[in-house]
Subunit: 286 residues, 2 copies
């Protein structure tokens, strides 16, 4: 994987002793800044620009008392991340700045987007790109198509890795030990009657994805939704992201995906990989 | 403007007395959560995924001591927003989640993107959408084209409003009193020899943009860069965003923009506006 070699970190950057980690250990250490964690929880539970949330709703969403939430909300409003709207608060566009540091430094998405657009208009379906973030995948680029049934996902959306096509492609790109750790930590939930939650079966599925070079997921995340994904590899063949095509389920969906969509998706992923600059690419996961 | 009517806020949401506001007033009040503000400053000064920053660099960027920055960095790493990379730290994809609440709730960008893609491929230039955030514009959608000279901007990027075409279009959409307040707070900086920094002249320029319905800015933000922008209006004709086409400067750029690009840009903006659902749209500014 294209991660720089892990050099020793200066002594004061060592995390608190291992015993203090995991299971809330760090959160009891002197290094944990609780009000920062709580403020970010408030940001995550605030409503979108069209759906302001009241202080009570924000407090409940962030698991905080109203008094604790109030100071955080007023501070976030003062800093321009929230705006007052009626009796509530809504996210302000400034929150996009926080993600911009990531996307702007990624490069990958700017390189990928024209290829994804061409693919999407060629096959008439939405195309997305995601990277792995622990148990989740996070969307880093998306080209939606307008259909009657649209999937509401934008850059920054997160979905569970175990039941998504891009998740399985990214998992297939992990080393064996990393995958074992991932699987041990995974807590699969039955989201539809078709969701695979058995860990031994998940392992076999990911092995199959690695062999075949693509993942097809049919109605495991949501009834009526299918998706085909392939890895994007850098010049050293390391998986740095996944791209997919999402589509509505119909009885012929899988056949069409194999015949028509897979060659186009593979071609787009290769074109993106060939267009990447030499040198270490952004990691597909943290 | 499509903002909901401002109802009275519950008593405990009133901001601290007016005397305590402005010029750091709130920041001295008991309601200000300093470590949250500092943590967000750390996130803003952390490096992109390919450019990890050391603790010293992050501390300097956020204007903090190394000791203060250290606890914030370790907390952000624990929460998954930063990842350790070599001797430094880089932003992790989870930061995109913070902006997702805004974009995912906006709706506008999903509606706009197909029109922007069509426009971009028709004219062969990058197309972007932005909203106003105080003195800045913030990119909420972007369709880049691959050229030798590319402009490195992604969703969440911010640029000054006074010297950008989208900024001037959004300023032209403000009410007279709002614009007066905006202009009083504006601190224009000469970014190129062509940047207009005289406030009386800026007012005349924005008046002209309002009359003509579009803004053309030539090399005021950066030498070699030009841009044409028009407003996106909701069904009540309120300006809710701006879209633009950016291009490299050449002597014929303005003529081509007027002849060829302006009709296509106006058509795209109208199509986006017509596709918006009825009811209050997302505000173009906070």
């Amino acid at each position: 994987m294209p991660r720089p070699p892990r050099r020793r970190r200066p002594a004061d950057l060592e995390r608190p002793a291992r015993a203090a980690r995991g299971a809330g250990g760090f959160e009891r250490s002197r290094d944990y800044v609780q009000s920062l964690a709580r403020g970010l929880a408030v940001l995550r539970s605030a409503g979108g620009p069209d759906e302001p949330a009241t202080l009570a709703e924000i407090a409940a969403g962030a698991g905080l008392s109203r008094a604790a939430a109030r100071r955080l909300v007023l501070t976030l409003e003062h800093l321009g991340y929230l705006r007052a709207a009626g009796r509530g608060f809504a996210l302000a566009p400034r929150v996009l700045e926080l993600g911009y540091g990531y996307l702007g430094g990624l490069g990958l998405t700017d390189i990928a987007q024209p290829f994804m657009e061409r693919l999407s208009s060629r096959v008439g379906e939405s195309c997305s790109m995601a990277v792995l973030d622990g148990q989740q995948i996070i969307y880093v680029a998306r080209v939606p198509v307008r259909k009657v049934m649209t999937v509401s996902l934008a850059v920054g959306a997160h979905l569970p890795a175990y039941c998504t096509s891009m998740g399985r492609v990214l998992l297939a790109g992990l080393g064996p030990e990393e995958f074992d750790r991932w699987l041990a930590a995974c807590r699969p939930v039955r989201l539809t009657p078709r969701t695979v939650t058995d860990k031994a079966r998940l392992r076999r599925i990911v092995d199959g994805v690695r062999r075949r070079g693509h993942a097809w997921v049919q109605q495991e995340l949501e009834a009526g939704l299918c998706s085909l994904a392939v890895p994007v590899r850098d010049r050293r063949a390391a998986v740095i992201a996944a791209i997919n095509i999402g589509m509505a389920y119909h009885p012929g969906a899988r056949g069409r995906a194999q015949r028509e969509l897979l060659p186009a998706l593979v071609e787009a992923a290769r074109a993106i990989g060939r267009s990447l600059p030499p040198g270490p690419a952004a990691p597909a996961r943290t």
